[in-house]
């Protein structure tokens, strides 16, 4: 099996426009190992969808090269199309006149499944995504969540080696989005080597699902790494909130321990005379120092009532990298109207 599922080298994509050329991708370099759940995180207009369209052979790069499992996106389009599939959020594909079962069967034909095999595959996937009750229902009558489950089933019909998910939970309610995420995770885990490229602007989704994430903005990759690695970029110390039944010697005693940067009473704790516990914020050089703190507390006869680690979010990472929040960052990617004169 190839080591890399995706390899992108210096890819630029420039859209023509009446005013000025719009640079959607500005020299992207990216490697995604086979079997990885990789995320592209960025605001609207960052270039995520443009990159997906290049990798799914729907769009040509203006310059640079890209390959999927070693197949060039420009020269080996048919081969790539045989082993990949894609699902987009808010997708309205297919024909409302068909039932869920019929619609999915129609798509099996485009991947060359024999008639009976196609029906069997469809029934398996309908069961797997939890649409058994809706299998004979017309597509036009499905709810948004049901529709997206059907779209996911469509994306799995050819048993792809790589699945491109473009904002797959867009517009779904919390329960439907969670259900879809669980399906995606289970599908990938079932066979080693299955690779997923997810684009999303939901930070929590990327954090939950992805082994590695690239933060993209204005057509460039600003940072790449596991969610933990990215978060460590903005926080090089470990912060814990600890609740004790009592503390002999006060916060200063803890602050003198090796590896402890600071130990302070949590805001409001000192003034609360009725409180039966002590709540403190501990800033440690790294997580390893926590063991020494816990040992010291035991020696002092303190009992730990609660311990919670405070972590930065991916949004903090984005703000650190871009200098603005996600909501402020979004501008639309150039679309067909922008390319009209190309």
């Amino acid at each position: 099996m190839p080591a890399l599922a995706i390899e992108v080298r210096g890819v630029r994509r420039v859209y023509s426009s009446k005013k000025a050329p719009i640079v959607a991708l500005d020299g992207i370099d990216l490697e995604v190992p086979t079997g990885e759940f990789f995320g592209l995180l960025g605001p609207n207009g960052a270039g995520k969808t443009t990159l997906i369209k290049i990798l799914t052979t729907l769009l040509s790069p203006s310059s640079g090269t890209a390959s999927v499992f070693g197949f060039d996106v420009e020269k080996d389009t048919k081969k790539i199309r045989r082993i990949m599939n894609m699902v987009a959020g808010g997708e309205q594909s297919g024909y409302g006149i068909l039932s869920v079962r019929e619609q999915l069967w129609m798509f099996t034909q485009f991947y060359g499944l024999a008639g009976a095999e196609g029906w069997r595959r469809v029934d398996e996937l309908i069961e797997a995504v939890g649409l058994a009750e809706q299998r004979l229902q017309r597509v036009s009558t499905l709810s948004t969540g049901q529709r997206q489950k059907m779209n996911l089933a469509r994306g799995l019909l050819n048993d792809p080696w790589i699945l491109f998910l473009d904002e797959p939970t867009l517009g779904l309610d919390v329960a439907a989005a969670r259900s879809l995420r669980e399906l995606i995770v289970e599908w990938r885990a079932a066979v080693p080597g299955r690779t997923i490229l997810l684009t999303t602007h939901y930070m929590a989704e990327a954090d939950e699902l992805c082994e590695r994430i690239a933060i993209v903005d204005h057509g460039r990759i600003l940072a790449i790494g596991s969610p933990d690695e990215l978060k460590r970029r903005v926080q090089r110390e470990s912060i814990f909130r600890i609740e004790l039944d009592r503390l002999e010697g006060g916060a200063q005693a803890l602050g003198r321990l090796p590896g402890v940067v600071s130990a302070t009473a949590a805001a409001g704790n000192e003034a609360d005379t009725d409180r039966q516990s002590v709540v403190m914020n501990l800033v440690l050089e790294d997580d390893g120092a926590l063991g020494r703190v816990v040992g010291d507390l035991a020696d002092r006869g303190s009992h730990i009532l609660g311990l919670r680690k405070s972590e930065p979010t991916l949004e903090d990472v984005f703000v650190e990298l871009v200098g603005r929040g996600f909501d402020e960052a979004g501008t639309d990617e150039p679309g067909p109207s922008a390319e009209a004169i190309a």
Binding site: K53, F69, F71, K79, Y111, A114, R121, E333, E339
Partner: protein, 295 residues
């Protein structure tokens, strides 16, 4: 659930092996894609009964108007047959202009187009599937109109060469739907103007195809100039073959020549559609026009 997901997994083969298809796999995928794309059109026959009103009753009324005009003028009885035959074939032209030529534009709006292009079959298979589905659908409608109108108005067919008539019919459909494939690619490039273009072409083609009169009435040059429209040529040949007992010249040129014209049209239009699709895909990939949804 994981077990269910695993059912569709291919143990053993890696992605590169899975991408290496044999010629037979490619062929079968294309054939199955034709079947898959034809399916919604065929199933639509039973799912949307409104077509009985819009595509049988209303065309029947239109045909009836010409029948009464010809009868009032004491035209030869074959003229009633001409109109009935023309009325039946209207279904095919409507199908080509609205459900072939415009279809890719609508597919793009729905998001189907990019899924078709992202799938491994040749895109011509999708066009063939649309054509086959359309032919089945329109043949049902045409046969119904022919049966009802032929019975109601007592049309007497006089056919000497059944095989040639069948051949002309098949070739007419081939040329007509080949033209539909070419138009589909063109209309996709033209985008939203496609709908207006479809509207603009409907009535002129009705007229020059001679749906309600024999094109021989346009004179030799006139008939020859409209021969580039498959429906005109096919209908003219079918009329000559279906009413061979007429005591007056019906069409021009003879059916055998029109068979050759239709055959050439079929081949040229299918090859043209293939070339246009390849060009369209290349341009669309370059310009980013395969999908409307771009974010």
């Amino acid at each position: 659930m994981a077990a269910t997901m695993d059912l569709v997994g291919r143990a053993g083969a890696g992605p590169r092996e899975a991408a290496a298809w044999s010629r037979r796999q490619v062929l079968m995928t294309n054939l199955r894609s034709i079947r898959g794309r034809a399916y919604p059109r065929v199933i639509g026959l039973v799912r949307e009964p409104s077509w009985v009103l819009f595509e049988i009753l209303l065309p029947f009324l239109g045909t009836s108007a010409f029948v009464f005009v010809y009868r009032a003028l004491d035209a030869p009885p074959q003229y009633v047959g001409f109109v009935v035959l023309g009325g039946a074939l209207t279904a095919f032209w409507l199908n080509v202009i609205w459900m072939m030529a415009n279809q890719l534009y609508w597919e793009k709006s729905q998001g189907n187009l990019e899924l078709y292009f992202a799938a491994p079959m040749h895109f011509m298979a999708i066009l063939f599937g649309m054509a086959v589905g359309g032919m089945v659908m329109s043949s049902t409608r045409a046969a119904t109109v022919l049966l009802i109108a032929g019975t109601v108005y007592g049309v007497a067919f006089s056919v000497d060469q059944w095989a040639l008539l069948l051949g002309v019919f098949v070739l007419t459909l081939g040329a007509l739907y080949g033209l539909g494939m070419v138009l589909a690619s063109l209309f996709l490039v033209w985008g939203r103007e496609a709908w207006h273009m479809g509207q603009m072409l409907t009535e002129p083609v009705y007229f020059v195809s001679g749906l309600n009169f024999p094109v021989a009435r346009l004179g030799f040059v006139g008939a020859l100039s409209v021969a580039v429209i498959p429906l005109a040529t096919g209908l003219d040949a079918m009329r000559q073959l279906a009413f061979s007992d007429a005591a007056f010249p019906i069409g021009t040129p003879p059916p055998v020549v029109e068979v050759a014209i239709l055959g050439a049209m079929t081949v040229i239009s299918i090859l043209g559609a293939r070339w246009m699709l390849a060009t369209m895909e290349r341009r669309a990939r370059r310009d980013g026009r395969l999908s409307v949804r771009w974010q």
